[in-house]
Symmetry: C2
């Protein structure tokens, strides 16, 4: 059975303007690979309602799961929750369960739950909440979309809340070999190897360091024995 | 006049599997911001022909420029050039001008221009070449799409070849202020400021460090005087 598939939507002008370097994509990619969910596409979109809604609609129709990161805080530029609600034709308002979580958190901190903070309790009708052990304000899940914060510590904590609830697949096994020859010398035999193991993904990632050329060959697949067999052949071919 | 827009397509299973952390997106975002071209969307897609073709078609129709990174080397998993040709209904084959560039390069290095390396001279009909001062194998440009290598040093060199040929816009001016209060306290006055300066983008990026909460407020816009005025107001409001 093929593994479940996933896509991610990263929301944020600060990444597209080059001010901030995204780290949530790399984190999610690693976590999904561990549990056998295949991340097949990532879209980075700006803080624009039409862009967010369009991406949510397109990707939720195409993949098993969709994870979003960013745009769920208390400020005027946090529009993700409203866009996701609209994408699914759901109403959205401050919800009692989310408000209670925030109220308890700010009471503990001696901080007022003002109108801005209350925006973080806006949850689409019918959505489930995603726990946020870092700063309380919850994410939410609606249909097959998981809406999470952009701040890396919070995003990572929410991913940890969500992943155990998903049915994973067979984790991808991977082995790699560094070959100190130009890719042009490796390509012929490598193509034949790939043709002989059609169920495996065999990737070649060239590097160049201190004037030495080479490539990291990565063999990935769900069947560990096949990965072993292909790696043995690769080592024989290149005498490593 | 609004600035030209851009999108990027990052091609590579190695990024989606979490093995490698992409750096080309962040680099391109910074370079485009400098010349006043607005990067509005990035898609990361796998080494899959339908995914690459679909992204090229969709984004080239929607944005002024599209930049791709990855999948133009000599190995079996390098399928970008063929996919881009198909997306535009162009034929593709080894082209004499690209072959001559490779031949000269490998002659200098005393390396054979074998069948695998010759794949890197496959260029769609009617495309222009993009110079690669690092490792010779050219990128190419077809319609409004710029097809470049994934290896960061080569990608960056190709971006440097391409950008001077594009008409830029007004570079985005930006100023930022760190405010050591929770976003929930900042949100109200910040929303009013954003409403008073509709031509500016005012973003709030929360941080949390050693138990201290705060937000970096970034004000961006094409009109430096307006950015100055909004930043003066922001400083007054928060007494910074």
């Amino acid at each position: 059975m093929p593994n479940p598939t996933a896509a991610m939507i990263v929301i944020g002008d600060e990444i597209l303007s080059g001010r901030t370097r995204d780290s949530n994509m790399h984190y999610l990619a690693q976590e999904l690979t561990k549990v056998g969910i295949d991340l097949q596409e990532v879209r980075v979109v700006s803080d624009d309602a039409a862009a967010i809604e369009g991406a949510v609609r397109a990707l939720s129709a195409a993949y098993t799961h969709v994870f979003t990161s960013g745009g769920i805080g208390p400020t005027h530029d946090d529009i993700t929750a409203d866009c996701v609600a609209r994408a699914f034709g759901r109403s959205i308002d401050v919800r009692d369960d989310a408000r209670a979580i925030l109220q308890a958190h700010y009471d503990r901190m001696g901080t007022e739950l003002n109108a801005a903070r209350l925006r973080m309790a806006r949850i689409p009708e019918g959505a489930g909440l995603i726990e946020n052990p870092v700063s309380a304000a919850p994410g939410f899940t609606i249909e097959n979309v998981y809406v999470m914060a952009g701040v890396p510590a919070v995003f990572e904590a929410m991913v940890a809340s969500v992943l155990p609830t998903l049915v994973g697949g067979r984790p991808l096994m991977s082995q790699s070999l560094r070959i100190f020859r130009g890719e042009g010398d490796i390509a012929g035999p490598l193509g034949e190897l790939a043709a002989d193991f059609p169920d495996l993904s065999i990737g070649s990632y060239p590097f160049q360091k201190d004037g030495v050329y080479g490539a990291q060959i990565v063999i990935r697949g769900q069947d560990g024995a096949q990965v072993d067999a292909a790696m043995t052949r690769l080592s024989e071919i290149f005498g490593a």
